[in-house]
């Protein structure tokens, strides 16, 4: 079964993935930040018990585990693939995870909320992500008693999630807007529409391949559909601006850009050692070139998958062991060289 980052997707030149996350809590436990260890254990077991029901009703195979049973490399790799949140990977209390085989659905247990249902799909497809998360929510509700109030909606640990408990987001690739230093302006603009934009792993980092995350800010007062519609409008706006900017850049100095794209390919294909920052920068240039049709591969090739693959955790996971950064840089260069297809 293909994973979400292995499929060809709608509007994939700008929108890498769409994600919906629903925060839910059980009535009969204190919220996670106040939970005692013995209750945490009970909670994780209770939630994990829905795994077979999910497999049966959702037509996907689901697996459950305790996060504590995973190695540090596994955890980091899962954070890089957006399966785990950084908070859950770090937490010392008993925490759990239910994951679908295709990595589309992950259910984090005892994160900031008791349950965080997350569905992630490739490209611009927020409706599909919501449809999946919503279905999982319905299935889970039959077994688990969620804290829900007529007035406040889903009651969450943090008041910024109260109501729908929903955070919808799109991961967007904005090389042209970044190059034009228009990101800061964009941050300010979208803020007026209850939407936030930030770097994928940290705050506004350019070095991480010009990838950003746009998500809804508010969770109360609007329905899930309204929130998604609003977010979609903004993402489409951003997408248009990015595409316009790309065209403009190409019309201005296509020779230079083409040269840069091919240089990036050359370095990625033939370097003997490379840091993750450099790899991300060149992969970003390569993706830009491929999206604009400046460079063509001799087979289907998903650059974003490689972007996740070059991260320290994923790389060590592939290697099967924890190694120092010097060895990692060599292994990364080898991995890229091997996986990168030839050009036409």
């Amino acid at each position: 079964m293909l994973k979400w980052y292995e499929e060809t997707v709608p509007d994939g030149d700008v929108v890498i993935s769409s994600r919906v996350r629903l925060a839910r809590n059980l009535e009969n436990y204190k919220f996670s930040p106040l939970l005692e260890e013995q209750d945490a254990k009970k909670l994780v077991e209770e939630v994990k018990s829905i795994t077979p029901i999910l497999s049966e009703q959702d037509n996907r195979k689901y697996y459950a585990c305790n996060i504590q049973s995973l190695s540090d490399i596994d955890k980091t790799a899962m954070v890089e693939r957006h399966i785990l949140s950084p908070l859950l990977a770090e937490k010392e209390q008993t925490t759990g995870l239910i994951l679908s085989e295709d990595e589309t659905v992950s259910i984090m247990i005892n994160e900031e909320d008791h349950i965080r249902i997350q569905a992630i799909v490739g490209g611009m497809n927020l409706e599909k992500a919501y449809e999946i998360a919503n279905r999982i929510d319905d299935i889970a509700y039959e077994k688990l008693k969620f804290a829900y109030d007529e007035k406040y909606g889903y009651m969450t640990s943090c008041p910024t999630n109260t109501g729908t408990g929903m955070r919808a987001s799109c991961m967007v690739f904005l090389p042209a807007l970044s190059a034009a230093r228009m990101i800061q302006k964009l941050f300010e603009e979208v803020g007026r529409y209850d939407v936030t934009i930030r770097g994928i792993y940290g705050e506004g980092t350019r070095s991480l391949g010009n990838i950003y995350q746009i998500s809804n800010q508010k969770t109360l007062g609007n329905s899930e559909q309204e929130i998604i519609e609003n977010l979609k409008r903004i993402v489409y706006q951003v997408m248009q601006q990015e595409r316009k900017r790309r065209e403009y850049m190409l019309s201005l100095n296509s020779d230079e850009i083409e040269d840069q794209v091919y240089r990036a390919y050359g370095i990625l294909k033939y370097a003997k050692q490379i840091t993750s920052e450099d790899a991300m920068m060149y992969l970003s240039q390569l993706k830009f070139g491929a999206d604009c049709g400046l460079i063509k591969f001799n087979r289907e090739f998903n650059i974003h998958k490689m972007m996740m693959g070059v991260q320290p955790g994923s790389l060590q996971w592939t290697l099967g062991k924890s190694v120092g950064s010097a060895i990692r840089d060599k292994a990364r260069a080898e991995y890229i060289s091997k996986e990168l297809p030839d050009l036409i």
């Binding site: 008041p159 209850d194 969770t219 609007n222 899930e224």
Partner: protein, 181 residues
């Protein structure tokens, strides 16, 4: 240079703190920096929410209706009946302790939520089979009472044919009741 806190390891971080306009600079090693501040050197994405947390508790405080000390003391009395979190603790931590906190804090909560969310009432999804208080009230009514409600609604919507049908149904029900009695 050695760390200003532990005086053992090499300082790698310059930590500047400004509290009430007084600037204080410290040279810290990674360990002390991680301990003392929200800073972590090799895990850039593991600490993004910490700053958000700080910000949030400031926001929560700022949006609370009476932040002057006098009325603040009154608020301290609000305690969650289930987990014993006080309203003050909720404001400081930016986190509820349990679902019951929402009910215990309901008097203050509307304005706080309006401050951060711009709204205080949920209009989105309702879990399957969840009954609102109106649903429960309607369930407790007799058939005739329920029809009377529907009749009223039909009149408000100016659906007079439907209203006439409901009126006849109610009459018939009342007649039957009288006969049975």
């Amino acid at each position: 240079m050695l760390c200003d806190r532990c005086h053992k390891r090499t300082a790698k971080v310059l930590y500047t703190e400004i509290i009430n306009g007084i600037k204080n600079e410290q040279h810290l090693c990674e360990e002390c920096a991680a301990d003392y501040t929200s800073f972590q050197m090799d895990k850039p994405f593991f600490n993004t929410d910490i700053t958000l947390n700080n910000l949030l508790s400031t926001l929560l405080g700022a949006y609370t209706p009476n932040t002057t000390k006098k009325s603040g003391e009154g608020r301290q009395d609000i305690v969650c009946s289930n987990c014993h979190t006080t309203y003050e603790e909720f404001l400081q931590r930016g986190r509820f302790g349990c679902a019951e906190c929402y009910r215990s804090f309901h008097k203050e909560l509307g304005k706080t939520l309006r401050g951060i969310q711009g709204a205080e009432v949920h209009t989105g999804k309702r879990p399957k089979g969840f009954l609102t208080s109106t649903d429960r009230m309607v369930q407790g009514l007799s058939e005739a009472e329920r029809l009377a409600l529907e009749l009223q609604e039909a009149i408000e919507k100016e659906e007079f044919e439907e209203a006439a049908r409901l009126r006849d149904l109610i009459r018939q029900l009342k007649r039957e009741e009288a006969n049975n009695a």
